[in-house]
């Protein structure tokens, strides 16, 4: 079953652009996992589809159930309800249970879980079952070449740096050409300097081989740079699924808006494409009516040079090198706070009273899926 089609796949993927609607590789429906002896639901009736060749990031705070979800796909945990399909075959539902070794998955663990008693080459060759031993080792070397670790093939894992161990773990998971590769916070054990470059490399390798991947992270920056699509998770529910740009610029809930970077949450009254707020009438990204919560990113706000717009008092100025972040409060007595982001050369100081104008559209938000589920039991 498990062929060595790495390079064939690689060639066909690089020639063709990503299909518009890729065939689904991972399909989850109604997936539920409760931990024994607790009321806590780790994953609650969750539906999600990952397309072929796609990189999906599960993003959420710790304890939101994202790692459990990954382990449910892998088969390390057994769901209480729902169905998991991988590459068109049902691997878990009420009547079916396929053990992890039968699921054609690759798993990269947070601490890599490299076999300490095997060399790098033996680690990578571990998952290869077909062909002669020489052929398997040859294939392992080819995969090591792909991740740029050929010269370390004879070493033991403890003789490698963290970043190198990480790439061995990736090579080991990639070698048997799995249908999908699952990565559990793979970059969290690397120091900040190494994290960015390793992330880029891993993404390139996944794209070059056309590998479908699901990555779990709690780091929004990592999710946005790494993913084709982001699935934001909270308390066992999916809050929103979409492209990094879409999720960032058009968040659907207050949780998503504030989890993917700083934002200003404003109350307003929707009148179709416009909402009345304390910042004046704002254009809306999608139409809304009645009382509504709005998200306005700090970079959508600017200080007006000639005192136009709403007057605010500057409370705090935070210089970050590439930009400036201001914490402000409306000057008219309302306690509404605002975060404004400007270029690094802005001269406005703490204590100043200045005008603020809104440059972009405000995004109307809905109640969170997790909150909805909690307020209506049985849903």
């Amino acid at each position: 079953m498990v062929g060595y089609g790495l390079y064939t796949a690689c060639a066909s993927m690089s020639d063709a652009a990503l299909p518009h609607r890729p065939t689904p590789v991972v399909e989850l429906s109604g997936l539920t996992k409760r931990y024994p002896r607790t009321e806590h639901v780790a994953v609650d009736q969750l539906d999600l589809t990952v397309g072929s060749g796609e990189i999906l990031c599960l993003l959420g705070p710790s304890g939101c159930g994202k790692t459990t979800l990954l382990r449910l796909i892998a088969g390390f945990e057994m769901p209480d309800a729902g169905r998991v399909r991988i590459a068109g075959a049902t691997v878990a539902d009420a009547d079916t249970w396929l053990e992890p070794e039968r699921r054609r998955i690759g798993f990269v663990f947070q601490d890599y879980a490299l076999f300490p008693h095997l060399t790098v080459r033996q680690n990578v060759a571990f998952g290869l079952r077909n062909g002669s031993k020489a052929k398997r080792l040859q294939h392992a070397d080819a995969v090591l070449d792909l991740v740029g670790l050929t010269i370390f093939a004879g070493r033991y894992p403890h003789q490698l740096s963290g970043g190198q161990q990480q790439r061995v773990a990736l090579a080991r998971a990639l070698a048997p050409a799995p249908a999908v590769i699952l990565l559990d916070e793979p970059f969290s054990n690397l120091d900040a300097a190494l994290r960015g470059s390793t992330r880029t490399e891993v993404r390139q390798i996944l794209k070059r081989t056309g590998t479908t991947a699901v990555l779990v992270t709690h780091d929004q920056e990592e999710a946005m740079t790494f993913a084709d699509r982001i699935a934001v998770m909270r308390s066992g529910h999916l809050e929103q699924v979409g492209t990094p740009e879409g999720v960032y610029s058009r968040p659907e809930t207050a949780f998503v808006a504030s989890f993917l970077g700083r934002t200003n949450l404003l109350r307003g009254e929707g009148h179709g494409s416009v909402a009345r707020t304390s910042l004046g009438d704002l254009a809306l990204a999608r139409p809304a009516h009645g009382q509504v919560m709005l998200s306005v990113r700090p970079e959508a706000l600017t200080f007006s040079p000639n005192g136009e717009g709403v007057r605010v008092r500057v409370l705090q100025r935070e210089f970050k090198g590439h930009d400036l972040t201001y914490a402000c409060q409306l000057a008219d007595g309302e306690r509404q706070r605002l975060v404004v982001q400007t270029g690094p050369s802005c001269t406005v100081q703490a204590g100043d009273i200045v005008g603020v104008v809104v440059a972009g559209a405000a995004v109307p938000l809905q109640a969170s899926a997790a909150t909805r589920a909690r307020s209506s039991p049985g849903a």
């Binding site: 498990v2 390390f76 057994m78 070794e101 879980a113 076999f115 571990f126 799995p178």
Partner: protein, 526 residues
């Protein structure tokens, strides 16, 4: 939507873990059940009459005072020795430490043999110096012999605790205005409490379970009395009843230790590296300290070797004697080796279950294995006799039954090291192997097993050594005529044939010492 049922979760467990673990766990209980059944064959009135006999109380008092005596004497030997080798400027500390542990290799009945052969008309002292001193026997003889071979357990525990003590705690106490004596009482000793309790528990279990020493010293503690009752009287009900009382006493002591230890924290709470200890200088106490160390080591180690060596010189065994030693050695190994292998095979799934699987019942199976270890061997032997006569008569008086008893008794010895090694191997290794297409059994053998191989081998070797010198189970369960080394030493000594027992005792002591040495160096390599 109910959460996963126990059965469904259990079904996910691989068969090669579940089945052996359950068989081994239940195996421990079966003989005990038969022991209870045998005792309760008599009607309740008879049982009550037997239980309230004065003799039962005499035995209880005898056993408890023996335990107390051994605890006191072994503490007097072990604690100063531990302090001297950890905290003082005594020289040759490593050497002294090794010598202090070696008595672990010398079985109690050999120590008793050495003590007994010192005195008497045909005794060693009389033959060598013409001085006839009375043979040590009874209470004091048993206390001496048992202390001399059990004190290393306390020594090792206290030593480890002293090594782990944070000197800054003592320094803080000094800075808070306490003198050195107050510091010892208020800071050091309370922190040694868990180590002392753990050591005392092991020693108490040994004393309760001991058969060889009390039998040779003819001191009527439970196990000796049970044997006498079993071998001489027609009515075995009283023997079964006494076995149950002894078992109850053992469990009571195990339970009490757990309660005394409580939930207090003794570990270092803060962070930061621990500083080196400043050694106490002995100064004018040095001669006393060296004299003390010398006399403890001489008594525990010198005495048995001196006595054995002297007998071999005074009455050198002929070729036939050596051949019978070799035969007994092979016979002993022929039951000890299979026992060690089966024990290791049974210990792995139980340790795996205890370390890896969070499932109701997985801890219980491990506890049952420890229960097997705590059962006094004489009680276990009787239980095995009743069990085999009742349920599997064709196993009575076979090597298989003896090996089964060994496995029940020594399972915990092998589980301990394997379990702690398993806790250090991340379960993700096996998950990684499974994500790469390995079946559960293969995943375990290709990833986890290579990493726990050392403790598995060490555990097997330990069981082999303990089984080689085991006496009560062998004595009571071995097929007729199946005389092992330990049985030879025991029977010859009880017949007063001291010189004839010497080569057999020497074989055991040499073999065990060799193994203790091998184990120490093997463990050291990790």
């Amino acid at each position: 939507m109910a959460s996963l049922t126990w059965a469904r979760r259990a079904r996910r467990l691989p068969w090669f873990v579940l089945i052996p673990a359950i068989v081994a766990g239940i195996g421990t209980l079966v003989p005990i059940v038969y022991l209870v059944l045998r005792a309760f064959e008599a009607d309740l009135e008879t049982l009550q009459r037997l239980l309230w006999r004065e003799r039962t109380w005499t035995l209880l008092v005898n056993t408890l005072s023996l335990t107390a005596g051994v605890l006191v004497l072994s503490t007097l030997m072990a604690v100063p020795l531990a302090w001297l080798t950890v905290r003082s400027d005594l020289r040759w500390k490593r050497f002294v430490t090794v010598l202090a542990v070696v008595p672990l290799a010398i079985p109690g009945y050999v120590v008793a043999y050495a003590l007994i052969s010192l005195g008497g008309v045909n005794g060693f002292l009389s033959q060598l110096f013409g001085a006839v001193v009375p043979r040590p026997s009874g209470y004091w003889g048993a206390v001496a012999a048992l202390s001399l071979y059990t004190y290393p357990y306390l020594f090792l525990n206290v030593r480890a605790a002293l090594l782990g003590l944070d000197p800054s705690l003592e320094e803080s106490a000094r800075s808070l205005g306490h003198g050195s004596r107050a510091v010892t009482w208020r800071v050091v000793l309370p922190q040694l409490r868990p180590a002392l309790l753990a050591g005392w528990l092991v020693i108490a279990l040994y004393v309760l379970g001991d058969f060889g020493v009390v039998a040779l010293m003819r001191y009527e503690a439970f196990s000796y009395a049970i044997y006498l009752q079993y071998s001489s009287a027609f009515d075995r009900t009283y023997a079964a009843l006494l076995s149950l009382v002894l078992l109850g006493l053992t469990l009571l002591i195990v339970g009490t230790e757990g309660r005394l230890l409580g939930r207090r924290r003794y570990a270092r709470v803060g962070s930061g590296a621990q500083r080196a200890v400043v050694m106490t200088r002995l100064r004018r106490w040095a001669p006393l300290a060296y004299g003390y160390v010398a006399s403890v080591l001489l008594a525990a180690l010198g005495l048995p070797f001196l006595v054995l060596g002297s007998w071999l010189v005074l009455a050198p065994p002929d070729l036939a004697a050596w051949r019978s030693v070799a035969e007994a050695f092979v016979r002993t190994a022929s039951v000890a080796a299979p026992a060690a292998l089966v024990t290791a095979l049974a210990a792995m799934p139980i340790a795996y279950l205890a370390a890896r699987v969070r499932l109701r019942g997985s801890r219980l199976i491990e506890r049952l294995a420890y229960l097997g270890y705590a059962i006094p061997p004489v009680s276990l032997a009787l239980a095995m006799v009743f069990f085999s006569l009742r349920a599997v008569p064709w196993l009575y008086q076979t090597a298989t039954l003896l090996i089964t008893a060994y496995v029940i008794s020594f399972l915990a010895l092998a589980i301990g090291p394997i379990r702690s090694a398993l806790l250090q191997v991340p379960p993700r290794l096996e998950e990684a192997a499974r994500s790469l297409g390995r079946r559960p059994f293969v995943a375990f053998f290709e990833t986890t097993f290579p990493l726990i191989r050392r403790p598995v081998v060490a555990g097997t070797a330990l069981v082999l050594m303990v089984a080689m010198k085991e006496l009560p189970l062998t004595f009571l369960l071995a097929p007729t005529g199946f005389t092992t080394l330990s049985v030879r030493v025991f029977t010859r000594t009880s017949e007063g044939m001291m010189a004839e027992a010497a080569p057999f005792a020497l074989a055991i002591v040499l073999f065990s010492s060799l193994f203790v040495g091998l184990l120490v160096s093997y463990e050291g390599k990790r």
